[in-house]
């Protein structure tokens, strides 16, 4: 003789619903906070302080007009100006320590392309004559290094901009 199917008790039902809500809320709100891509830089780089001296983006991100990837500055770029202490900021003292240790500063990129995307900075900055801020926001006004990309760049935005400006949006230009 087969047993009748077990009927959950009211307590079990309530426990299930409560557990479901807890897991749902954790997944929806708490997990993204914990796993958030908070990117901490090794130094508190102040973009504004540099922009005030009329230092252009390309002076540090050397390949912005010539390469796919604009690049993050290596020590030699910082050393050009900061061979000795020239300001009053504590971050600069740390920088000088890095430079004296002759160890490359591990700057962390905020924008990383997926492996199947080849976005050419040269094509946009040199040929298209776009300002950096069009895609990256106003980095020149930032005193603290942002912990995440100020603007999320998606393919929809690429396509929209190409449609507005009537520029070719051939698939293999970026996916090859």
């Amino acid at each position: 003789m087969s047993r009748p199917p077990a009927t959950p008790t009211p307590t079990a039902r309530i426990a299930f619903v409560v557990a479901f809500i807890v897991v749902f809320v954790l997944g929806l709100f708490v997990w993204p906070l914990l796993s958030g891509q908070e990117i901490a830089q090794p130094l508190e780089f102040n973009h504004l302080a540099h922009a005030e001296y009329d230092i252009e983006c390309v002076d540090c991100h050397t390949y912005v007009f010539t390469g796919l990837d604009p690049g993050l500055p290596d020590n030699a770029v910082c050393f050009d100006c900061h061979e000795e202490v020239i300001g009053e900021s504590p971050a600069e003292l740390l920088l000088i320590e890095w430079l004296q240790r002759e160890e490359e500063i591990p700057w962390r990129p905020l924008y990383l392309q997926p492996a199947h995307v080849f976005f050419s900075h040269r094509r946009h900055a040199t040929v298209g004559e776009l300002e950096c801020s069009v895609c990256h926001g106003d980095f020149g006004q930032m005193e603290q290094p942002p912990t995440s990309a100020p603007r999320k760049l998606t393919m929809d935005e690429c396509i929209d901009c190409h449609a507005e400006t009537e520029v070719d949006d051939d698939c293999t230009s970026c996916h090859r």
Partner: protein
């Protein structure tokens, strides 16, 4: 707009396979591994086919380099259900890997069998994995890939010309196989330019195309043995 084509002189080709190696290195095509070889699944975009030209007693064994023909009327693009392969304005038949669903209709439709399916995730023996070409993506398992006439080189050449505000010059863009050919048996250029090296050679009596009768209009032209 140029219409890119290739001419391969079978009379001077020595069958050294430099083109095959150059192609694989340039385009991140993994070398064959023993497991895949058992299944007949390794591939190279530029393959040398053995070919016996004449009958005995003058039989001559030759090697026959076979890249994608980049047909003007390609059968492969017509069967793709997701538009992952198409022919661009400059006549290059390309594959958009992130869009490919791996149905393999195109590999079946291609009469030259120059389309290859990735049965597994590609891998390279050490230290080759550290010397991959950053200009070309690594195709994942489940997508079809093929010779692209190294179109990343064309894009780079176009970008350089545009950045310098001038037109693309002849010889600025060349696939890796043509560049490396030690016997200079391969030529590359604009077939629509009547004065280009490929255009002049394609009009000689030695010129022929593979499976011409199918009407695919290949843009890879072979030159048979000279008189």
């Amino acid at each position: 707009m140029a219409r890119w084509g290739m001419v391969i002189d079978l009379d001077t080709c020595t069958g050294c396979q430099a083109c095959t190696i150059a192609c694989s290195i340039e385009n991140n095509v993994p070398p064959p591994d023993p497991d895949g070889s058992d299944d007949h699944r390794p591939f190279t975009w530029m393959r040398l086919l053995p070919w016996i030209g004449e009958e005995s007693p003058e039989a001559a064994g030759r090697m026959f380099p076979r890249p994608c023909m980049h047909c003007d009327d390609p059968p492969c693009t017509k069967v793709c259900p997701v538009d992952a392969t198409n022919i661009d304005r400059e006549g290059i038949v390309r594959q958009i890997y992130p869009r490919c669903i791996g149905c393999r209709y195109c590999t079946t439709a291609c009469p030259y069998t120059v389309r290859y399916f990735n049965w597994k995730t590609p891998s390279w023996p050490e230290p080759l994995e550290e010397s991959l070409n950053p200009d070309v993506s690594i195709r994942p398992a489940g997508v079809v890939e093929k010779c692209t006439f190294c179109h990343h080189r064309l894009q780079r050449a176009h970008d350089t010309a545009a950045a310098e505000g001038r037109e693309l010059q002849e010889g600025e863009y060349m696939p890796a196989c043509v560049e490396v050919c030690p016997s200079q048996s391969m030529f590359f250029g604009d077939l629509d330019d009547p004065d280009s090296a490929v255009s002049r050679r394609s009009r000689t009596t030695r010129a022929f195309r593979l499976l011409e009768e199918l009407g695919t209009k290949p843009k890879v032209i072979y030159l048979r043995k000279g008189e």
